[in-house]
């Protein structure tokens, strides 16, 4: 039980570099603020539990994506992502920015989450669906389904879907 009796759960459904940030930032911060935190990883979110992370960002379908460049902002044209190598370039640019601006890496945030006792549940159905093996994922993960999440969520003060 958390020191203040408060708790938060997040359903994590996305596995790209940009979408990986909100759940891990919120989870680590909530844990630092004495909340009990549960993350439920399902569908593409499950990739965030893999031992070796290789997260990417894409311009495709990401109409709001702008990158700071030469004092202004460059809109990343949606279709550019269809060209070979463009996602890799966007990913390199993003990782470069992350480093330059003192933003934590997802690897570091995930480690911090593990260290402060964030409970992580991997969706068993997604494990089967995408043929993941437990040995692909980091240690300390629980394997369960929707009922476990619902039971947890009924006890939580904050429930988010990302």
């Amino acid at each position: 039980m958390a020191a203040n009796g408060k708790s938060m759960s997040i359903i994590v459904t996305k596995g790209s570099l940009d979408w990986a940030y909100p759940p891990f930032i919120l989870a680590t911060t909530a844990a630092a603020m004495d909340l009990d935190v549960t993350l439920f990883f399902t569908f593409y979110g499950l990739t965030l539990l893999k031992k070796k992370l290789d997260l990417k960002v894409t311009t495709l379908g990401n109409a709001g994506m702008e990158m700071p460049m030469m004092g202004g902002h460059m809109v990343m044209p949606n279709l550019i992502g269809a060209l070979p190598g463009m996602d890799a370039m966007a990913t390199v640019m993003m990782k470069d920015l992350i480093k330059k601006k003192g933003v934590a890496s997802i690897e570091d945030l995930r480690e911090a989450a593990v260290d402060c006792g964030v409970r992580m549940i991997a969706c068993q159905m997604t494990m089967d669906l995408f043929e993941y093996d437990k040995s692909d994922l980091i240690d300390g993960v629980e394997y369960a389904g929707a009922a476990t999440y619902i039971e947890t969520a009924t006890q939580c003060d904050i429930n988010l879907f990302i």
């Binding site: 020191a3 203040n4 930032i25 680590t28 911060t29 630092a32 603020m33 004495d34 601006k101 003192g102 933003v103 934590a104 945030l109 911090a112 402060c116």
Partner: protein, 74 residues
């Protein structure tokens, strides 16, 4: 006597995470001074203290560096 934590150059949520970690080594009623450059930390440190029950004694800013004095309560 106060302990100083330097999180200059680090961005959200690292100033809060490092502060939490450093607070563990501060004695009850002891004071931790945090130095940060993240402008968001002004509001965040307030919220962090409110939620964790620690007391934010002082917030100051000089030449782009924010300093927070936090008293450990429990």
């Amino acid at each position: 006597m106060s302990t100083v934590l330097d999180v200059k150059g680090l961005n959200c949520p690292l100033p809060i995470l490092r502060t939490k970690k450093a607070m563990k080594d501060v004695a009850v009623d002891g004071v931790l001074e945090v130095l940060a450059t993240d402008p968001g930390s002004v509001k965040d440190m307030e919220a962090f203290c409110k939620q964790t029950g620690n007391e934010l004694l002082e917030t100051a800013e000089a030449a782009g560096v924010y300093s927070f004095k936090i008293k450990r309560k429990a």
